[in-house]
C-alpha cells in the first residue's frame, strides 16, 4: 500500500480513499473477506488524519463494500459484486454530461478557500470586515412582506424592486421602466440566461483579451465560441466576415473591468458602440463594479447612450453590498426581457423574495448609498496600502496601474513566471492567487491581485511570499521562457 491521496486534487481526501478502495475491490486486488488494516495504520500510510480515514470507511460500509465484525476488525464483504455491479456508473454520467467542469485551477481555489488558514490574494469578494452584516441583520426587523411575497414571484421579479432600480439607475444616466428590467440571482445568472435564451449553438461571443468570461462557462457549455479581441480598437472587417455565417454578441466591461480594473475612455466607448451598431451586434455590458469608483463619480455606461436597443445591461449588488443575497438585474428591450423572464421562470421560478425585499429596503431607505460611500473609502485605503507593498516587494519584477476603483490590481510581471507550478507552490505555502491564465489562455505574465479580501497583515505576508517565490523562479534554470 504505497498509494497516498493527493492534497491538491479536486476531490476531497476521503473521496479519493473511497475511490481507491473501490477500484482495488473491483479489480480483485482486495479479494472478498480480506482483512483491512486498522484505521490508525491506514491514517499513517495515507498521510491523513484518522477522522478522514474514518469518514472514508463509513462510506465504504454504506456502499456495501466492507463490513465490521465486532472484536475482529474490518473486512472486504464476502460478496461486494452485487453492490459494485448495481451502482449506476455515476462517473460516466458526470464525464459525458453537458456543462463543462470548472477549470482545474478554479476548483483548487474553491477548495482551498474553504480553509480558514489560507491567505487569499485573489478573491473577488469583500472581507467579512467590509460587509455590513450587523446593519443588514438589524434592518431585517424593518422588512415588510407583501401578502404575495411568500408565493411564486412575478416572472420579472418584485415590482417594488424594479421601481427602486429605475431610480437607482438614473444616477448612472440610464432611464428605463420596470417593464425593461428582469431581476436575476446575480450577474452570473444573467449571463447564463442570455446563453440559454438568446443565442443559438455555435454563436460567436467576442470579449476583451483578458476577461472574466474566460473563467466561467455559461457560453462554452451552451456550445458557443469565445473570441478574445482588442475591442476598443476597431477590427470591423474581420468581425463582419465572421458574422456573415454566425450569430454574435459582444461581452464588455467598460467600467472597472475584471480582471484589469481599467475603465474605457469616452472616445473608446463611442467608437465601440458605433461599430456594434454598424454590425447589428448586441452588446452585453457587465457593470457590476460601477458603484466602486474611488472618487465617488460615476462613469457613464454604454447603456446610458443606447438609443437603438443594442445593450443588454447587467448589474448586481454582489460587489457593493452582499454577494450572499444573490440579487442582480438585466436592463434590455422589452421583448428580450420577456424572453429571458420566461427562461428564468422555467429554470428556477424567480429569485428569493426575501433577498428582493431586503435589497428594495436598502435602495429606497438610503442605507445602500450610505454603506457604499463608506465601502469606497475603505477600498481606496486598502488599494493604497497594497500599492505601498508592491513598491516595497515587487517593484523590480512587475508593473501595474494605480487602481481608480473596484477590487483589483492587474499586476504584470516582466517575465512569464506566473505558471501553474508557481500557483501550486504558493498554495503549499498557504497563499492563494488568481493567475492571469484564468482570464486569458497562456497568459503567464499576470496576477489579478485583489485588495478587497485579505487583511493588511495577510496582504503583507502574502506579497512578501509571492515576491520570494517569483525571485526564486527567476533564478531557477528550469523556468520556462518564450524562446
Amino acid at each position: 500500500m504505497h498509494w497516498q491521496p493527493k492534497r491538491q486534487a479536486a476531490l476531497s481526501l476521503h473521496t479519493q480513499i473511497v475511490t481507491w478502495f473501490t477500484d482495488n475491490i473491483r479489480s480483485g486486488d482486495f479479494p472478498p473477506g480480506m482483512k483491512c488494516p486498522p484505521q490508525r495504520v491506514l491514517a499513517v500510510q495515507f498521510g491523513v488524519n484518522r477522522s478522514t480515514v474514518h469518514t472514508a470507511m463509513e462510506e465504504l460500509q454504506a456502499n456495501g463494500l466492507i463490513e465490521s465484525i465486532v472484536g475482529k476488525g474490518t473486512f472486504i464483504c464476502a460478496d461486494p459484486w452485487q453492490a459494485l455491479l448495481s451502482q449506476p456508473k455515476w462517473q460516466r454520467y458526470i464525464d459525458t454530461s453537458i456543462h463543462k467542469p470548472n477549470m482545474d485551477t478554479i476548483q483548487l481555489i474553491n477548495d482551498y478557500e474553504q480553509r480558514s488558514d489560507m491567505i487569499r490574494l485573489g478573491t473577488g469578494e469583500l472581507a467579512t470586515t467590509l460587509l455590513p452584516t450587523a446593519s443588514l441583520e438589524q434592518s431585517l426587523a424593518h422588512i415588510t412582506l407583501s401578502p404575495r411575497a411568500l408565493g411564486y414571484s412575478e416572472p420579472q421579479g418584485s415590482i417594488a424592486l424594479r421601481e427602486a432600480l429605475c431610480v437607482h439607475l438614473q444616477k448612472r444616466g440610464i432611464h428605463t421602466t420596470p417593464r425593461n428590467i428582469l431581476i436575476v440571482s446575480g450577474a452570473l445568472q444573467a449571463l447564463q440566461l442570455i446563453a440559454l435564451g438568446l443565442l443559438e449553438r455555435g454563436s460567436l461571443v467576442f470579449h476583451e483579451e483578458a476577461s472574466y468570461l474566460q473563467s466561467i462557462h455559461p457560453f462554452q457549455s451552451a456550445g458557443m465560441q469565445l473570441l478574445g479581441r482588442r475591442l476598443t480598437q476597431i477590427d470591423k472587417p474581420s468581425m463582419q466576415a465572421m458574422l456573415q455565417t454566425r450569430q454574435g454578441v459582444c461581452y464588455v466591461m467598460p467600467t472597472l473591468h475584471n480582471p484589469t480594473g481599467y475603465s474605457w475612455s469616452e472616445a473608446e466607448k463611442q467608437t465601440f458602440y458605433t461599430m456594434c451598431q454598424q454590425l447589428s451586434l448586441p452588446i452585453i455590458e457587465d457593470d457590476v463594479y460601477e458603484a466602486l469608483q474611488f472618487d465617488g463619480t460615476s462613469i457613464r455606461p454604454l447603456k446610458a447612450n443606447d438609443r437603438s436597443g443594442h445593450v443588454l445591461y447587467i448589474g448586481s449588488i454582489s460587489k457593493a453590498l452582499s454577494a450572499g443575497l444573490r440579487i442582480g438585474w438585466i436592463v434590455a428591450p422589452e421583448a428580450v426581457i420577456q424572453r429571458l423572464a420566461d427562461v428564468k421562470m422555467q429554470t428556477d421560478y424567480g429569485s428569493s423574495a426575501l433577498s428582493q425585499a431586503v435589497v428594495t429596503h436598502w435602495l429606497t431607505s438610503g442605507l445602500y448609498d450610505a454603506s457604499v460611500d463608506t465601502l469606497r473609502q475603505q477600498l481606496q485605503q486598502r488599494a493604497r496600502y497594497t500599492e505601498t507593498l508592491l513598491h516595497m516587494y515587487l517593484r523590480d519584477v512587475a508593473s501595474w496601474q494605480s487602481p481608480t476603483g473596484g477590487y483589483y490590481i492587474w499586476l504584470r510581471f516582466h517575465e512569464p513566471v506566473i505558471q501553474k507550478s508557481l500557483f501550486l507552490q504558493l498554495i503549499q505555502r498557504g497563499v492563494l492567487i488568481n493567475p492571469g491564465y484564468m482570464y486569458q489562455p497562456n497568459d503567464f505574465h499576470h496576477i489579478r491581485l485583489s485588495f478587497s479580501y485579505a487583511s493588511e497583515a495577510e496582504l503583507k505576508t502574502g506579497i512578501q511570499l509571492l515576491s520570494q517565490l517569483v525571485n526564486e523562479a527567476l533564478l531557477s534554470p528550469k523556468k520556462k521562457r518564450p524562446d
Copy 2:
C-alpha cells in the same frame, strides 16, 4: 386600421401594438412623416385602454420611430430607417436560441395569473391566506447572520442548513450527512442542474404517463428525450433494449404525485426500485409534497431504502412553507453532489444566504413543523369542500379519487372535452384551469384541480362555470370525439 391586438396572446397588448406599428413602418405602409391618429382614437380602434396605447407610443418614441411635435401631434419620423436597420434582430435571436419557450397554454396561464380578477382553479401554490406571512416577518427579527453569510456561499450551501436537513430527513427515514446534500433554489433548479451536470445530450428520461415533467423543459431544452411509461408495472425488456445505446434516468413522484395526487404502494415501490437496480438506472425522486399527507403520517420515500446509491432525492420548502424563499435540496452520492455543486456555482454562485438562514431557523426552532401541521388541516378542509362541490356540479360527467394529501384532485371527464378551446372559453369567463394535456400530450380527459389556491367562494363559482361550459361542449355537435 382594422387590426386589433389579441388578448390571449403571449405578448402583452402594448408590445403587440409596438410590433404592429414597427412592421407597418418597415413595410412602408406608414411612410415617414405620416401623422398618427390621436391616442384616444387609437384606443377605441384597438379596443384597449388609453394607458396601453400611451405605453406603446412611449416605446415607439424611445425606439426612434415616431416623434411628437408640440401643438401638432405625433408623426412617423422623417428617417425611421436608421433606427430600424441598426437594431439587432432580437426576434431572430430569440427564435433560434437554445431553451424552449414555455408551452403556449402555460404562458397564457402565467399572464392571466397576473390579473387579480381571475379565478385560479389550477394554481399549484398556496393561497395568501394559507401562507405564514406574518409569522415569517416576525421571525426575521430573530435571524442571526454568520460573518460569512453575506459573502459568496460554500459550494454545497450553508452547513447549518444542511445539518438541519439531516435531522429533518430522518423523519422521512432518510439517514444522510451534510456532505451528501446540495442546497438549491427550489426543486425546479435541482432538475435543471441534473440535466446540465449529469446527463449527455440524447439521454432518455423516463417518467410516468401524466407528469409534471411534461409541463417544464429542463431536459428537453438540454436535448434529452422524454418517455412516458407506466413505471409501476414492469416493462423491463423494452427499457433495457433502449438503454443499450443511450444513457437514461427515471423521474418519479411516489408520494402525492403531481398532477394526480396519488401515492405508490410499498409493493409498487419495491418492484420499481428492483427494476432500476437491475437496469443500473438512476432514479430522480421528486418528493416536494411529502409534508402534506393529510393524516400527518409519512410515506417512506424510495430514498429511505436506497442501499445502492441509485436515488437522487429532491425536496423543497415551496409547497409546505413558501415558494418565494426559493429553497430546495438534493440528496445523492457524494461524487454526484460535488459535481452538481460545481455546476450550481458556475451558474448562479449559490442560493440566497438570507433564505437559507430563515429556513434553518424555521426547521430548528420548530416553527416549520407547527406551521405545516396547521396547513395540513386547512388543506384537508379545502379538499373536502371541493369534493362537495364536485359531487354537486360534476358528478355526472367526471370521476375522481379522494385526495389523501397535497394540493390536487385529478379530475377525469368521461368524454374528451378538456380541449384548448374550452380552456380559452373559461379564460374569457374569468376562470383559469390546468388542462390534462399540459401533463400528457393529447390527454383531453383531465383537469388538475387545485384546492390550495382559490377561496371557497371562487371554487364554487369556478366549478359551476366549468360544469356549465363542459355541459355545453357535450351538447355541441362540433365537439371533437375520438372516432
